[in-house]
């Protein structure tokens, strides 16, 4: 792993901890957007520009707008009845304990796991993969979007004015 990618991974971890520990929900949503931006930079560094563009536009853009909209709606009520913060403050300690404990066995397991990889040809384009070889996925995506619209429709039914 090069230094640039290592720094991006560490930044993603830092922003995700910050998103969890932030007292205000708006800060949490913004930190989540920064996690998305960092993750998209990692995708670009891997040589996966399509994934980076989708991550940047959809996750860092659209989902952040959805979060900020929802947070602005409930912010007043959330500030009146704040959550117990002690468990959030314990996160760095718990994470450090997990990191130290898992350092002894997880990297070795992952090294063994990576040896199982069977290298592919690496050819083709994203258009070929998306529109030709994985075409049935598109049907699943359209159905998933329809399911989302149906959920919104059923959560907010139109009331009859009787």
């Amino acid at each position: 792993m090069n230094d640039y990618r290592l720094i991006l991974f560490l930044l993603a971890a830092l922003f995700s901890v910050w998103a969890v520990m932030a007292r205000r929900l708006l800060t949490s949503a913004i930190m989540l957007a920064l996690v998305s931006v960092t993750v998209s930079l990692i995708f670009f560094d891997y040589g996966a520009p399509w994934a980076g563009v989708f991550e940047l536009s959809v996750c860092a853009g659209l989902i952040t707008v959805l979060f900020v909209g929802a947070v602005s709606l409930i912010r007043a009520a959330d500030e009146q009845n704040p959550e117990n913060r002690s468990r959030f403050h314990a996160l760095p300690l718990v994470l450090a304990a997990f990191a130290i404990a898992s350092w002894y066995y997880l990297p070795a397991f992952f090294a063994e796991l990576s040896a199982w990889a069977r290298p592919g040809t690496g050819g083709g384009t994203i258009g070929l993969a998306l529109w030709d070889m994985r075409r049935p996925d598109l049907l699943g995506q359209i159905l998933m979007l329809a399911a989302g619209v149906f959920v919104i429709k059923s959560v907010f039914p139109r009331r009859n004015e009787k």
Binding site: F9, V35, V94, T121, L130, R134, Q141, F156
Partner: protein
């Protein structure tokens, strides 16, 4: 230790952060934030595995599907949040059971 093992170790830490957030919080927004963090870690693992197997094209196609699913899940979760907030004035997951029809 090879570089992929180190990357996956860091991905595990990010995923742990998301799971911890989902475990300790009662707020629906924070539950979704935790879910997003877990999802980001899963995406990183997917692309990293694609790079390891020299198959980034398929990994990206799968990731685009994953992003679509993620958007739908977040939109549905936030819709439930808004509905619950309108009914009860709270964003508490323990009050979601009153939404049953």
């Amino acid at each position: 230790m090879n570089s992929f093992a180190m990357e996956w170790y860091l991905i595990t830490l990010i995923m742990f952060t998301g799971f911890y957030c989902m475990l300790v919080s009662r707020s629906i927004v924070r539950q979704l934030v935790g879910l997003e963090i877990v999802s980001k870690a899963a995406m990183l693992a997917l692309i990293s595995a694609g790079a390891l197997a020299n198959n980034l094209i398929y990994a990206q196609a799968l990731l685009i599907t994953m992003i679509v699913i993620e958007v739908v899940v977040v939109a549905a979760g936030l819709a439930l949040l808004v509905k619950n907030f309108r009914l009860h004035g709270a964003a508490d997951i323990w009050k979601l059971d009153s939404l049953k029809g």
